[in-house]
């Protein structure tokens, strides 16, 4: 198995840990980061050969509205769902300096080298990287790699914001701003997001973060109502464009989560296509509240561009 190097603090799992295990360890005060951009400890988590469960994947599909694939491919974001438990374990690690309860998922990239099949056990490796100063705190990344035996099939960068007020406004790191091009609409649909959406997604992802469960629990964390999981909003948006994705399943996706989707609500999902790339947008039907912006490029196109950039 060709993997990245050893970490200072390694968490090795034989089975997928539950989120609940991690939640117990979230309680208690953390030291925090003294300065903007201070490094995070080198923590990693690995899980070997995890067999996938068809009923669980079907339940996930149902909640996200994804049709079942003929070739038993797993949904694009499903490895992220599984990796979520490992992410939580890293946040629960005693050396992790930030308060897990207030972390905000602000963006993600996903690279699918090839779609994996339901009967192929996945191995995971998650690493912590960062931090960098952001507008409202520290931003850091969780790098996730999914392997089928030795083959890297899927990788993702999950960008997390840890809100913090600094006495002195830090210098901001430049971040790529996602923008939808002015391309003709491919799809435009309005969907209802039910009041219990957070609980439903929690039941298939294991993510029972109180901000998603109920208005009352969400209020404890400063939200006026419960909010939908960003990864659900993205998965539901992707479900609309399932047929527009490259046939070989090799894709590069980047998403920026903007304003939360309060529950219940109605959102408009728009998709347009330009130069082979898909541009997705989830927003409120009235006004200009944007919930997420995402781009999906065929991986070959991205690799080609990278090679070209390197040669340049």
């Amino acid at each position: 198995m060709k993997r990245s190097g050893k970490s200072e603090h390694e968490l090795v799992f034989k089975d997928l840990p539950t989120m609940l295990d991690a939640y117990k360890k979230f309680v208690g005060k953390r030291s925090g980061l003294k300065q903007p951009g201070a490094p995070l400890p080198d923590i990693s988590a690995t899980l070997e050969s995890y067999p996938l469960s068809r009923p669980k994947i079907d339940a996930y599909r149902k909640v996200c509205g994804i049709p079942r694939s003929k070739d038993y491919f797993i949904p694009l974001l499903y490895p992220q769902v599984l990796a979520g438990a490992l992410h939580a374990q890293i946040f629960a690690h005693p050396k992790f300096p930030l308060q897990a309860a207030g972390l905000i998922h602000v963006g993600n990239t996903v690279t699918q080298h090839r779609p994996s099949r339901i009967y192929e056990p996945l191995s995971f490796e998650v690493k912590l990287r960062g931090t960098r100063p952001a507008r409202k705190g520290h931003e850091f990344d969780l790098l996730t790699y999914a392997y089928v035996e030795d083959e890297l099939v899927w990788e993702a960068t999950t960008t997390i914001l840890s809100p913090q007020r600094f006495s002195q406004e830090p210098e901001k790191t430049e971040r790529r701003v996602l923008q939808a091009p002015k391309a003709p609409l491919l799809r435009s649909t309005t969907i209802d997001v039910a009041a219990d959406q957070g609980r439903r997604y929690g039941s298939v992802s294991g993510d029972y973060n109180p901000i998603h469960l109920h208005a009352m629990t969400a209020k404890l964390f400063g939200f006026k109502r419960a909010i939908a999981h960003g990864m659900w909003t993205l998965a539901r948006t992707l479900a609309e464009v399932e047929d527009d994705l490259p046939a070989d399943g090799r894709v590069f996706l980047e998403v920026g989560f903007k304003r939360p989707v309060y529950l219940p609500s109605t959102i408009v999902l728009d998709a347009s296509k330009s130069n082979g790339a898909l541009f997705l947008e989830a927003r409120a039907p009235r006004g200009d509240t944007l919930h997420l912006l995402a781009n999906i490029h065929p991986l070959d196109q991205v690799e080609e561009r990278m090679t070209y950039d390197e040669e340049e």
């Binding site: 599909r61 149902k62 909640v63 509205g65 049709p67 079942r68 694939s69 003929k70 609409l185 799809r187 435009s188 649909t189 309005t190 969907i191 209802d192 039910a194 439903r200 479900a239 609309e240 399932e242 047929d243 109605t266 408009v268 999902l269 728009d270 998709a271 927003r283 039907p285 009235r286």
Partner: protein, 589 residues
């Protein structure tokens, strides 16, 4: 018979735009978004050439298929969606009435139906074998806020204390109507749907499949004779006792199958697609008989644009009505004029103007009588809601249009001919819908750039119901009595033909779609999961409902006839999203 557009210098399009930030949204603004599971959406007409329009006219005089042959193509979910979109999901319906639902059976169950149909009496056509699928359509009595108001009408002051509860009880338990025409509305809607289903099957299959619709065995006296077999069919369709109690009954059975080559229709794919998209657009934009030129209306609505509904088109629409009536009743073409009575009022002629005034006065008198005689014990506690509602009738029943048909049936003549009344009413509904379709299709021919639309028709039962209140409670005569003194007329519908370039404010449509207005007005464009079901492996499943996901696809959306603002900016959610290929390609049975 195409309609001449106004001279170029007069032409004006509606050009509705979104309300700007901070600007108050009016009925002239574009809706800010659409949330609907219906295949219709906000659509515009697609211009057809005269040749295209002529080629599709044959679809308005379809004969029953003689036989079905073994199917060469599988019935996929996609096929069924397009067929239902043109059938039950977009059938012309009266405000607030969602009175149909449909259960579709696969080929095996269709054979069972076929055998049952063979045993059933009163059929106009043969029961056919080898159907690819069969639709069982259920219908319920016409009940809306209007029928609630009717409960309070026509009572004597003191007797109303007992009369109102009695009538409410009879309506609820025995499905009795306050006035006969309300009962007829259920039958009219069934006829309209039946006529639409014939075209839906052929358009969705691009000429390959045809529908064999059986209506007569399920109404009137045949219904009682066939009761046992009807119960078996209702069982196949999963009709529950609670639904029966609510008045749902089997209304018609439509067998669909592939027909031999000589009975197939051959048209270019583009023409089929345009036609499908146009049929849906006609259920999206309405040409209302009403005055749009209110002072606050935008400029486009204020300009006079000279346009007429040609006399020839009016005649053509009348002919189409008789043809459809003959098709559904099975009588001779000439004799049909003794049964179906059509009075034509040409508003632009002096006699026509006077006649229209007389009709309006007659209906106005009824409204005044209704308002003055409403029981105060019910009206006052509700803040005079009942009388305010009744007063609205004056506006709603006002007749406006260049050419008007008032249609009805001769009850005595129908009886003499042994034609069942309910079947007559159903055939009349089909005839009116077919007549409208001619006008609507002609309104799609060579639509000039910058004109919203050219012509259309509005079918109204309101004036007839108002007349019926007059007949039942205040000693009035039928509207048609003067025009047909030697007949025994019962008027059933009024249709007004209009030609204009600026369509109705699109905000009117939003009222029908806006969830906040539900109860005031009901979205008449249901989603598939609400009214269309399949029977598979003995289970009844809603169409296009997978987990939390329901349809947002607009049928014939590939034609792209979606309403936009003048800069081409789409209405969010209007374009919809195609149902996933994995699901639409599934063979249903």
């Amino acid at each position: 018979m195409p309609i001449s557009p106004p001279p170029p210098e007069q032409r004006m399009g509606r050009g509705a735009s979104f309300a700007a930030d901070g600007e108050k949204k009016t009925r002239y603004s574009l809706p800010s978004a659409l949330q609907s599971s219906s295949p219709v959406g906000y659509r515009e007409r697609v211009s057809m050439t005269l040749e295209e329009a002529e080629s599709v006219m044959d679809l308005l005089s379809l004969e029953r298929p003689s036989t079905f042959v073994a199917s060469t193509t599988p019935i996929t979910e996609e096929v069924m969606f397009e067929e239902n979109s043109l059938g039950i999901l977009s059938s012309r319906q009266s405000t607030n009435y969602r009175g149909h639902k449909q259960v579709t059976l696969g080929p095996r169950d269709s054979e069972v139906v076929s055998k049952l149909l063979e045993k059933i009496s009163g059929k106009r056509g043969e029961a056919l074998h080898d159907a690819t699928h069969t639709h069982l359509v259920f219908s319920k009595p016409y009940r809306t806020p209007f029928t609630l108001l009717l409960t309070f009408i026509g009572h004597k002051p003191v007797k109303s204390l007992l009369g109102v509860p009695k009538r409410a009880f009879d309506k609820r338990v025995h499905h009795k109507d306050d006035i006969p025409t309300v009962g007829y509305l259920q039958q009219l809607h069934i006829g309209i749907l039946a006529d639409g289903m014939e075209r839906a099957a052929i358009i969705a299959s691009q000429g390959k499949r045809r529908a064999n619709v059986h209506m007569a065995p399920f109404c009137g006296r045949h219904k009682d004779v066939n009761a046992e077999h009807i119960r078996e069919l209702e069982k196949l369709g999963g009709l529950t006792s609670a639904e029966r109690q609510a008045g749902w009954r089997l209304a018609l059975v439509t067998q669909v199958g592939e027909v031999p080559k000589e009975e197939q229709f051959d048209l270019p794919t583009q023409t089929w697609r345009k036609l499908g998209a146009n049929l849906l657009s006609m259920r999206s934009e309405r040409i209302q008989p009403g005055v749009n030129q209110e002072e606050k209306a935008p400029d486009a609505y204020q300009h006079r644009q000279d346009m007429d509904v040609p006399d020839e088109l009016t005649v053509m629409c009348g002919r189409a009505a008789y043809n459809a009536f003959v098709h559904w009743i099975g009588c001779g073409r000439e004799h049909s004029k003794e049964l179906l009575l059509l009075e034509r009022i040409d508003v632009l002629t002096p006699n026509g103007k006077q006649r229209l005034r007389d009709v309006r006065d007659m209906l106005g008198q009824v409204t005044d009588l209704v308002m003055n005689n409403l029981p105060l014990w019910a009206d006052l506690p509700t803040g005079k809601a009942l009388s305010r509602n009744a007063a609205r009738g004056k506006k709603a029943f006002a007749l406006a249009g260049q050419r008007i048909y008032v249609g009805g049936l001769d009850r005595t003549q129908l009886e003499k001919d042994g034609i069942d009344w309910d079947m007559g009413v159903r055939a009349f509904g089909a005839a009116a819908a077919r007549s409208s379709l001619v006008a609507e299709l002609m309104g799609c021919v060579n639509i000039p750039e910058g004109c919203d639309l050219l012509a259309g028709m509005c079918l109204m039962a309101g004036p007839v119901n108002q007349n019926d209140i007059g007949k039942e409670f205040y000693g009035q005569q039928d509207i048609l009595a003067g025009e047909f003194p030697d007949h025994d007329p019962t008027s059933l519908l009024v249709w007004t033909l209009k030609a204009k370039t600026v369509a109705d404010p699109i905000g009117n449509e939003e009222q029908l779609m806006n969830p906040a207005r539900k109860g005031a007005l009901v979205d008449l464009r249901p989603g598939p999961h609400e009214v269309a079901f399949y029977r598979r492996a003995g289970k009844i499943e809603p169409m296009r409902k997978r987990g939390q996901r329901t349809n947002t696809e607009r049928a014939f959306g590939d034609v792209g006839n979606f309403v936009t603002d003048p800069d081409g900016q789409p209405i969010p959610g209007n374009q919809g999203s195609r149902w996933p290929e994995a699901w639409r390609n599934e063979t249903i049975w």
